[in-house]
Assembly symmetry: C2
Homo-oligomer: 84 residues x 2
C-alpha cells in the first residue's frame, strides 16, 4: 500500500519559507493573501498489507526521521494500490 | 478560503531527496519500502470568496511561482473556512 505523509510546522512556529512565498506572490501582483505556510509531502510505497501495522510503521518513521516532533506536526493517510 | 497545493515531481524525474529518505529508513531498520517520493505542500489563505476565481488564481500562482511545470505536477484543493 501507499502512505502519504504531511509534515507541517506547528502553529506559532515561524515559517520563513512560507513568508518568502507570501512576499513573492504579493510582488507578482496577487492580492488578498492572508498567509502562506509550507510543509513537506512524502509518499512511501510499502510492502506491508495490514493497514494497522502499516500505520504503526509509518508513525514510527515520522517520529524517528520524517518530522521533528518538537516543531512539526505530521498526518498519515494510507491508500491501497491495485493488485497489492 | 484556504487553498492546499501539492507540488510533486513528475514520474520519471529523479528525486534525490526521496532516495535519501529511502536509504535512511532502510538504515533505521524499516523493511519492505518500495519507494519514497518527496514533494511540497503549501497552504494559502485567501480573501477571495468565489471558488472558481480562487481556483483560477491559485492555478496561476502554481504556474508562475509555486511549481516548475517542466518537472513538477501540482494539484489544488480548496477548503472553506468558518465564517468566511
Amino acid at each position: 500500500m501507499k502512505a502519504r505523509v504531511h509534515v507541517t510546522l506547528k502553529p506559532g512556529v515561524l515559517d520563513p519559507q512560507g513568508k518568502a512565498i507570501e512576499h513573492s506572490l504579493s510582488d507578482l501582483g496577487f492580492e488578498g493573501i492572508g498567509g502562506v505556510r509550507q510543509g513537506k509531502f512524502i509518499e512511501i510505497e510499502l510492502a506491508e498489507t495490514d493497514a494497522a501495522k502499516a500505520e504503526a510503521m509509518v508513525e514510527e518513521m515520522c517520529k524517528k526521521l520524517l518530522s521533528n516532533v518538537v516543531i512539526e506536526n505530521y498526518s498519515i493517510e494510507l491508500e491501497w494500490l491495485k493488485g497489492v
